[in-house]
């Protein structure tokens, strides 16, 4: 169920007060942009996808069922928009070969987020970013919603319109794939 503030905004919007949509955008823009950023990997595509998400929400507001959660509905639009996005993100492999044809680890490109804190596993964070991008969109979506947005299995199920069993299965598969990629990375080191 939407929270009480959302209910009020939604009802006002349904009754023709379209000016409240700006409040809706401000309320959810950070969360939607965050999801798009982790799904697509670069700011430009994430902005486009996030804007498109709100435009679709505006156009299709009549499809929103009042007893459903508004933010899971928005997440669903965002995830589908990101999956449909055609542009490829500018990711580079963290592995390059030196003169001796040995693989070496390089720093992440500047358009990829690196944590500001000094981390012993800073490169693992970078590797995790890249590994996340290598996941299929369906697996990436469940991991982003679970690990980054902190949604429950039930909310993920509602957002992606899949059963809770499927959510569990995809999370398990996604983590196994991430673990495998990170183990490969660590062995390279």
């Amino acid at each position: 169920m939407p929270c009480s503030d959302d209910i009020e905004l939604i009802n006002r919007f349904r009754h023709g007060d379209k000016s409240v949509f700006e409040d809706i955008i401000v309320r959810y823009q950070d969360r939607i942009f965050n999801v798009c950023m982790h799904m697509l990997g670069n700011t430009e595509d994430a902005q486009d996808a996030a804007q498109e998400t709100f435009l679709k929400a505006y156009r299709n507001f009549v499809d929103f069922k009042p007893n459903a959660s508004f933010y899971t509905w928005l997440y669903r639009i965002a995830i589908n928009t990101c999956i449909d996005h055609k542009r490829k993100p500018i990711w580079e492999s963290i592995f390059r070969r030196n003169d001796k044809d040995e693989e070496i680890v390089i720093e992440a490109p500047s358009n990829i987020y690196c944590p500001e804190k000094a981390y012993q596993s800073k490169q693992i964070i970078t590797a995790l970013h890249i590994a996340l991008k290598k996941l299929s969109p369906k697996l990436r979506a469940v991991i982003v919603l679970r690990e980054i947005e902190g949604l429950s299995y039930e909310d993920i199920s509602a957002a992606l319109d899949i059963s809770i069993g499927t959510v569990k299965s995809r999370i398990s598969r996604a983590r196994e794939e991430l673990k495998t990629m990170l183990i490969d990375f660590m062995e390279q080191k």
């Binding site: 401000v26 823009q29 950070d30 804007q51 944590p115 995790l128 980054i148 991430l178």
Partner: protein
């Protein structure tokens, strides 16, 4: 508990989505199983790494840009009405042309009553009288004829 069962429960366990009873069973298995315990530690490491991911915020002016796009779409919707009217005008004009061509074909084929022949015959010199009797010219001609007869 078998490792295959434990493996299925590990992910809901670290996500806090496992029932209390199942959690206790899993914990007791993990105490005894080094392999499953190692799996759990690896998954927890990944989870901790995700916790260090940056949380992005929407760039400045994001809501303004979205609202501008919405307004642009709304403007396009209202602009479609005059365009529709223009198309309607062209459509009516074309109907008028086709109606004219169609009627012309009907006239030429004689299927339609032709008033032009009546109009043409009324303009014929046979019925055209340049000096009717009631006119000044007609009166003058009548006087001249009467004089000639005398």
């Amino acid at each position: 508990m078998r490792c295959t069962t434990a493996h299925k429960l590990i992910n809901p366990y670290i996500d806090g989505e496992l029932k209390h009873e199942d959690s206790e069973l899993l914990k007791s298995h993990l105490v005894q199983c080094e392999r499953c315990s190692k799996d759990l530690q690896q998954l927890l490491s990944i989870k901790d790494a995700f916790a260090e991911f940056n949380s992005f915020t929407a760039p400045c002016g994001f809501s303004t840009r979205v609202l501008a796009r919405i307004e642009a779409e709304e403007a396009v919707k209202t602009a479609k009405l005059p365009l529709f009217v223009r198309f309607a005008e062209v459509f009516i004009f074309l109907i008028a042309i086709f109606a004219g061509v169609f009627c012309g074909r009907l006239i030429s084929s004689g299927l339609m009553y032709d008033k032009s022949s009546a109009i043409i015959s009324s303009l014929s010199l046979d019925v055209f009288d340049p000096a009717p009797a009631y006119s000044l010219g007609g009166s003058y001609l009548a006087m001249m004829e009467a004089k000639n007869e005398k």
